[in-house]
Amino acid sequence: MMEAIVMDTDGIARALKRMAREIEERVPAGELGIVGIRRGGVHLAQRLQEKLTEATRGEVPLGTLDIALYRDDLSEHSSAPVVGPTDIRFPVSGRVIVLVDDVIYTGRTVRAALDELVDFGRPRRVLLAVLVDRGGRELPIAPDVIGVRLEVPEGEQVEVRLVEAGAARDLVILKPRGQA
């Protein structure tokens, strides 16, 4: 199977704009904190944060979570996953935290991210924002703010390519699993 484009540059821009508006409507300004899940969620979190900072006319704090230390599948890997930096420099307690990832699939990443997030404090509420919900959950976890919903069969993979990560242009593509 060839790669198929499911969202182009304009589509991603429109989706993020709508997601930012939705977050803005649901959360009072000044209570918000955005946290991107490494690595796919980091750049999207930054884009949402810029839009929200502009819309609410106040700096929205931004952080990054790396879930490697909270994974549930350490013993299933032939080698330990590479640990990246977690960087949350604002108080999480009392805030509404929007966790951002590019794609939600089994929900295990989000489970790990929630465990890590609460080690930083007690957020008043946590919302989950994803660009793509591809279905296939293995845990009772659901996103609150969604760019696009796709029904993707198990043998296929959704990939979000962003210019910040070195892509030529922003794209969401669908391709067979395991293909580089």
Partner: protein, 341 residues
């Protein structure tokens, strides 16, 4: 696994990339140390045994702290309290500990090569916490980490050091190089990362053959410090004082110790001073120097915990391949196999 290695017995066998992989992992671990809640669930259910046949508070506590922050279960087994006094051999002790199924065995032993001897006979990962005058790899790694922080300007500021910043630097190691496992691990780590290493001390304290390993040798401290970017002051081991080959403490401190005057006159303003601890104040370092602006000794201690977290994580985190040879019938090996399926 750390690169190709299931054990960490010394830095001599490690390639540059493997060393940098540990240091990079340590940078993420250091962030955990700075959190309000200093605990992550990563190694929950993993066992770490600290097996110490030689007195050590700093290193043992550092490994124990590292294990606990990662939620591993850390147990300390010290020689003074063990059956060694009753005549048990090293191999019997280790087999007994292995039967308790640890995932990582951290060993300090007065005999060089003891951790290797054990590693060849057990199914779990082995980390040397210092063996004789051979190596002290975790100390070498924490020195590299601290130097990279210093050279890339993030020391005491936070942030991820650039490990390429060690390349081309000149680092002087001063003291009893002959008996120092720290000097050897520093030498291997520093040269792998592209630094120039100078050894300095009285002729009786510099072993033959270090030039072949890539170090240059100086007997006068003043010339050795010329153009140095950092200096590692080794500890003079009290138990060696009185040895006819070793100068007395006053003579040593006069010629090879650092005091405020020598720091002012001989050292560049940005030269970092390291010491593996514990310090003999007034011998290797005067008190003003040990507590002065150039000293990064306490940063070394903090980085030691982060580096040891990285070592334990990399060795215990992933499932281990069973050893290619050795006792394939051992329970620990059988257990690691089943974890892979």
């Amino acid at each position: 696994m750390i690169g190709r290695h299931r054990h960490l017995l010394g830095l001599e066998a490690f390639e540059r990339d493997e060393i940098v992989a540990i240091l990079q992992c340590a940078a993420s671990m250091k962030e955990v140390l700075r959190r309000p809640l200093k605990k992550v669930p990563t190694l929950r259910g993993k066992g770490v045994v600290n097996l110490f046949f030689e007195a050590s508070t700093r290193t043992r506590t550092s490994f124990e702290t590292a294990a606990k922050i990662l939620s591993a279960d850390a147990v300390n087994w010290t020689a003074a309290a063990s059956s060694l006094k009753k005549g048990e051999t090293l191999l019997d002790t280790v087999r007994n500990i292995e039967a308790m199924r640890p995932d990582v065995l951290v060993i300090r032993h007065p005999a060089a090569g003891a951790p290797k001897f054990v590693a060849d006979r057990v199914g779990c990962s082995v980390v040397s916490a210092g063996d004789g005058a051979h190596e002290h790899p975790s100390q070498g790694l924490l020195d590299l980490y601290t130097l990279a922080e210093h050279f890339s300007g993030v020391l005491r500021k936070g942030g991820i050091p650039d490990f390429g910043s060690i390349e081309g630097r000149t680092v002087v190691v001063v003291g009893d190089v002959t008996h120092s496992r720290v000097a050897r691990s520093d030498l291997f780590g520093l040269t792998r990362l592209g630094a120039r290493v100078r050894f300095c001390g009285p002729p009786t304290m510099i072993p033959p053959g270090v030039k072949e390993l890539g170090a240059s040798v100086f007997h006068g401290l003043r010339e050795a410090l010329k153009g140095a970017d950092a200096v590692v002051m080794l500890r003079i081991q009290h138990e060696r004082i009185g040895d006819p080959l070793i100068p007395g403490t006053r003579e040593y401190s006069r010629f090879w110790g650092l005091d405020e005057r020598k720091v002012q006159e001989w050292l560049g303003a940005s030269c970092a001073i390291l010491h593996p601890g514990p310090i003999n104040r007034g011998v290797e370092l005067s008190s003003e120097v040990a507590d002065g602006v150039n000293s990064v000794i306490l940063e070394q201690v903090e980085n030691g915990v982060a580096v040891r977290m990285a070592i334990l994580y990399l060795l215990a985190g992933g499932a281990q391949e069973p050893p290619a040879e050795g006792r394939t019938d051992s329970p620990a090996v059988a257990r690691t196999r089943s974890a892979n399926t």
